[in-house]
Symmetry: C2
Amino acid sequence: MTRRPYGLICPISLACEILEPRWTIQILTELWNGTTRFNDIRKGVGNISTALLSRRLKEMEALGLVERIEDNATGTIDYFRTEKAINLEPAMNALAEWALCNIEADIALSGADASTVMWVVRRMIVFAELPRRRAVIRFHFRDDPPPKYPHYWLVVEPGADFPEICSLDPGRDVDLYVETGAVSLGAIIEGRSSIEREKERGRLFLSGDPGLARSMDRWLRTSVYAALEGIDQLS
Amino acid sequence: MTRRPYGLICPISLACEILEPRWTIQILTELWNGTTRFNDIRKGVGNISTALLSRRLKEMEALGLVERIEDNATGTIDYFRTEKAINLEPAMNALAEWALCNIEADIALSGADASTVMWVVRRMIVFAELPRRRAVIRFHFRDDPPPKYPHYWLVVEPGADFPEICSLDPGRDVDLYVETGAVSLGAIIEGRSSIEREKERGRLFLSGDPGLARSMDRWLRTSVYAALEGIDQLS
DNA sequence: CAGTATCCGATGCGATACTG
DNA sequence: CAGTATCGCATCGGATACTG
């Protein structure tokens, strides 16, 4: 980054200089979520190019935000936030709270599409709340325009320690059908709406296994910010 | 801004999309300081071009961060933060605190030069703590390399309601001589150091009127964050 | 004072291809 | 898996000149 500095005597501007370059905060958020591997970070922040991610990580390492740890035994490389980056949590929480309470839901979620929502859903699954047996949940996004892949299958296998999500029919019997829109599901996860609310408004339909349907609010976590007062609700 | 959106279901990224465009936060800070006029904002954020400031203000107005109020009587135009922008204060405070406590002072102030420091000094003057009579304080910056204008005169006139600052000799008798460096004075204002401390370390010398020298910690305010614990001190 | 209009340059960034 | 290397463009933004 040979970005021109602001050159002000002001701690906020200093923070801006460090945090403003594109993807910096998203990378930190991803590390915060526990991701440590290059390609996982890449997917997590949404298709940043390898070249740019590589550069950013180096820059962030130079700034003391990120630590790169190479495991000589396995040859793998993990990235972690430094103390300095962890200390950003209060600021990032404040930003999240601001966005949730001050930006209207429809604007906030205007960019939501099926695939990105499902990527978030994947992270929000509470595995322990899903049945021990094999179970298949199919999400159907009825958005306009229709997404490239309108269907997603969430497959729980008894042996696995995490459910699979795929956009191509795995050819299994489906236990629970979820019919919704990307914005509605996104709003539920962000805490701007709720499963109940979206069902009432006719934007979420569950059919199939009644147990799975009833426990959806347990096996699908909502954002940690969902409990905030004053979130701008999706009408 | 046709800036490519992040496209993530994440309130932090949403905040980033709104706040990351260059100068956005600096403009908000300036409005926060009470500045309302176009050219004052311009100077306050440090020579942003008129074209860009104009565009940014429009964008921020469209985003609901800024309100533009035209006084039909006088024809003047004032800008104010909206409620939405005021609600950013906790986040901006958190960022300031982070930068002060986690970024080393020498890096934080590496861009400090005499003219920008004096611009901040101007805002930090507590007029009521200066004598009622005419008084002249001369700042001499002994930086390396020497600044374009190494001297600044702060002139208090009995009638005026605010002191003048100029970089050309007004030709008055000087009451107090302040000899220092841009980094030292910047550090004092940011609360990374103190008048006492810089005097002890030989980076600040006061000579002339003993009363003015003694009261410097009253007529020169320090940042509101100066009281924070754990600020990285300028050794 | 409060901007427009224009121009141009740097570079940030994305896309793709390729490597150990 | 974890990157490098290259390319090319869009756009962001700085400088300057000009206007009501």
